[in-house]
């Protein structure tokens, strides 16, 4: 598994005397690539290609995207058959209908059914339905996932705790630069009386990648 250099972030174990985990700020030794980022950004601003405000707004937009967006789309599809039809016909337009900015991408929703399970991957790099899910998790970008998802999807799914019956079909969808997929999981039995908002809480990020199934929200005890 490729070892991203930011893994060093996790080498700082322990907590401060006040009990807070140590946290990085912008005070580590400047790397070659950071120098390049600063230089490229400054040149782009000076050449009038972009502005500091535009870059900040783009980061703000990226930070605001989360799997909750995708979960809202899935929950709506579970409760509104006409919407589900529109979603399966054109996921981009259906998501835009709910106010989500999808950009110029083709977005395709693939539906899990009783006999078909869908899994998404980007074998070349890290294409991902980020407009609905935010940035991809680290494992999605690893060479191990990108290669094994297409070669041995059943084994990969088992490692994620998803056991697809042998007589079911697994469809693996390889994302491209302009075509992104999102999995529409099957609505779990026993959720007939839940509201759209309650249903959305069952839909996790991994459900929409295909590496998990919807499940009742876990009650998380909040620590200090």
């Amino acid at each position: 598994m490729p070892h991203d250099q930011h893994d060093h972030d996790h080498d700082h174990h322990g907590t401060s005397p006040s009990g807070h985990p140590y946290r990085h700020d912008n005070d580590e030794a400047l790397t070659y690539w950071q120098r390049m980022e600063i230089a490229v950004r400054e040149l782009l601003i000076e050449k009038g290609v972009t502005t500091a405000a535009e870059i900040a707004a783009q980061i703000d937009l990226m930070d605001s995207r989360s799997p909750a967006n995708g979960a809202a789309v899935v929950a709506r599809a579970w409760t509104d058959p006409a919407f589900k039809q529109r979603l399966l016909a054109n996921a981009g337009d259906a998501s835009r209908e709910m106010g989500f900015d999808i950009g110029p991408l083709h977005l395709i929703a693939v539906e899990n059914t009783a006999d078909t399970h869908n899994l998404i991957v980007c074998t070349l790099c890290s294409c991902y339905p980020r407009n609905l899910l935010g940035l991809p998790p680290d494992w999605y970008k690893t060479r191990a996932y990108r290669s094994r998802a297409v070669r041995e999807p059943r084994a990969v799914l088992t490692e994620f705790g998803v056991d697809v019956p042998q007589d079911s079909t697994i469809r693996v969808h390889d994302s491209t630069a302009d075509m992104r997929y999102i999995v529409l999981p099957a609505r779990p039995a026993g959720t007939e009386n839940l509201s759209v908002e309650e249903l959305a809480a069952w839909v996790t990020r991994d459900c929409m990648i295909g590496t998990a199934l919807p499940r009742a929200p876990q009650v998380v005890s909040t620590g200090a």
């Binding site: 930011h6 912008n26 980022e37 950004r41 400054e42 630069a177």
Partner: protein, 91 residues
């Protein structure tokens, strides 16, 4: 391997990629070509956003947005500002 907080410089690389792509300075295919040209060992040696800033830079130079000389000069200036990202980026 769960998600981690991205550093500011990484988010900036992401923003530059999206903005320059939406303004037509390159396509995602152009970025991928640059990534693949780096060779297999780039995927071992460099982190995700390190590879992306290299690909963005390569495409911007090819598009004529700035020259290699301008980049080199600016990277030297940046290095002279201080030893940390915070100092070199002016905060």
């Amino acid at each position: 391997m769960e998600g981690h907080d991205f550093a500011l410089w990484e988010k900036r690389v992401d923003a530059l990629m999206v903005l320059c792509s939406s303004k037509g300075h390159f396509t995602v295919d152009g970025l991928r070509r640059a990534l693949e040209d780096m060779g297999a060992d780039a995927f071992e040696k460099h982190s995700y956003y390190e590879r992306w800033i290299a690909a963005v830079n390569q495409n911007l130079i090819e598009d004529g947005v700035y020259t290699l000389e301008e980049l080199a000069t600016r990277m030297d200036e940046v290095a002279a500002r201080g030893a940390t990202y915070g100092e070199a980026a002016h905060g």
